[in-house]
Amino acid sequence: MLANEGNSVLPLSDDVEFSDMEEAVDAPERIAPVIEFRDICLAFDEKVILDGISFSVRRGETKIILGRSGGGKSTIIRLILGLIKPDAGRILIDGEDITDYDEPELMQVRQKIGMVFQEGALFDSLPVYENVAYRLREQGTEEEEVDAEVRRMLRFVALEDAIDKMPNELSGGMRRRVGIARALVGDPEIVLFDEPTAGLDPPTARTICELAIKLRDLHDVSSIFVTHEMNNLRYLSSEYAVIDENGEVRFEKEGGRLCMINTEIMMLRDGKIGFQGKDEELMRSDDPYIRTFVHGK
């Protein structure tokens, strides 16, 4: 599924035609949220982690989540997958209220979600190949198709050489990339990235961001991207992917004329949403808490 350029950017100035773009943006299936949190509260023991969080992610949208370490970012992601249940509030995936689903029902929902774990969470008794192939094997896909898909995914994360290695033979960054490949197999429509670039060198981190941008702009994937790094935030919220005349993927900057509407930033603060909006607003904010986050002081 290829979305055209119009879905990912809206023109800011008048000299750009945008009537057809508005149409694309307003289509009902684009408005209906793919992920929706309604007043989610969660406490571990006595400690309140999430205190009335509401937000939604539309199709093809990326939500960047910022927040202090231990602020509940990974918890939000685990809630989306139904790995833990909220104390109060509702969670909707694709319009389905999954809050009270039992495990078998959640299994169905999880089929359309890919998750990149903060720590990788690779199966260390299985080689890289089987790790990536895991979901396809569970679905009983033909061996040939599995092989092709696994190789394609590993090429995607530039790890074809590691195909026969065991996870404990890989470096941290390689493990993370295998985790990404594993999450993306089977083309999930929702992808959750939990600090996918932490501890990676800048070029690799950049590659991962490009990957997320491509998924968003070319494959219409909705995603949540938890990160601490301002570089990631800048890439994700100011660049978009297009396919040029030669069929190559190119990344372009939004510049001063365009404002991307498919990437939003959400900042958690003491269990509540401290900020929600576009990167420009975040950068311009003069709230001291946000400024320490963005500028480091």
Partner: protein, 256 residues
């Protein structure tokens, strides 16, 4: 939390795990390959230690009882005494304890480290039910393999007993074999095979439960392993008593 309350809560969790394993058998994916792999690991892997245990237990039984039997001039019945105690009690119980030490610990360590490294969560996130994929094959393999291991232990116990009778007390092999054959009935053998079915279930459920409920990093894994072996062993011994009583009643064995 008071110990009684904790015990009841734990019992509830274990029963719940067992129940969920059973209902997961009804439909949906079954992991036969994984079950076979576990059977290989549990059965073939535990064979050496179980055989050694059986062999030396049988040997020591003869070693200790022969003088007493000789005192009453019934030393020709030494085969019978080894056979009954081995097949009814020591074979099943000792095999179960050895398997609990070797396999129960391995299972809880494996599942526990999968929990703390988030692999269980990853598995659920990828749409697989860990109970189906991990718990059921392990319990099934234990239930299937433990009776076979027990039979092997019994046989090696009898061989060990025979060797001791023959070499140390110079008893004729024929006499020993004859007394073994007189000593055991089909009921004994059936009873001796029923017990390990339950022991396999106990070891499997306890080990999987302890593994999956691991909390608190690597230290937690160590704690789960210890707990799993201790709990399973105690339950095996307690259950053995009640099973023996039940079998006495149902199969009318245990009387002369």
């Amino acid at each position: 939390m008071n110990p009684l309350f904790r015990f009841i809560a734990e019992l509830q969790d274990v029963s719940l795990l067992l129940w969920r394993s059973i209902i997961s058998l009804r439909h949906g994916p079954r992991y036969f390959a994984e079950t076979l792999r576990q059977m290989d690991m549990i059965g073939v892997g535990s064979l050496p230690i179980v055989l050694l245990t059986g062999f030396f237990t049988g040997g020591v039984l003869v070693l200790q009882t022969y003088p007493t039997l000789e005192y009453y001039s019934i030393q020709n019945e030494s085969g019978r005494s080894v056979a009954t105690s081995l097949i009814r009690e020591l074979g099943p119980v000792l095999s179960a304890l050895m398997v609990s030490g070797r396999i129960g610990s391995a299972i809880s360590a494996e599942l526990g480290s999968m929990v703390v490294s988030q692999q269980i969560e990853a598995m659920r996130a990828l749409g697989t039910d860990p109970i189906r994929k991990l718990v059921v094959p392990r319990i099934a393999a234990l239930i299937l393999m433990l009776p076979l291991l027990t039979v092997a232990a019994d046989i090696f116990g009898l061989i060990g007993g025979g060797i001791v009778a023959n070499y140390i007390y110079s008893q004729d092999v024929q006499v020993f074999v004859e007394s073994v054959r007189n000593g055991i009935s089909t009921k004994d053998i059936v009873g001796g095979m029923i017990k390990p079915l339950f022991f396999g279930l106990i070891i499997g459920v306890v080990a999987c439960h302890k593994g999956l409920s691991t909390r608190g990093g690597t230290v937690g894994v160590g704690r789960s392993v210890t707990n799993s072996v201790v709990t399973a062993s105690i339950w095996v011994i307690i259950f053995d008593f009640f099973l023996a009583k039940a079998l006495q009643y149902l199969l009318d064995i245990g009387r002369l």
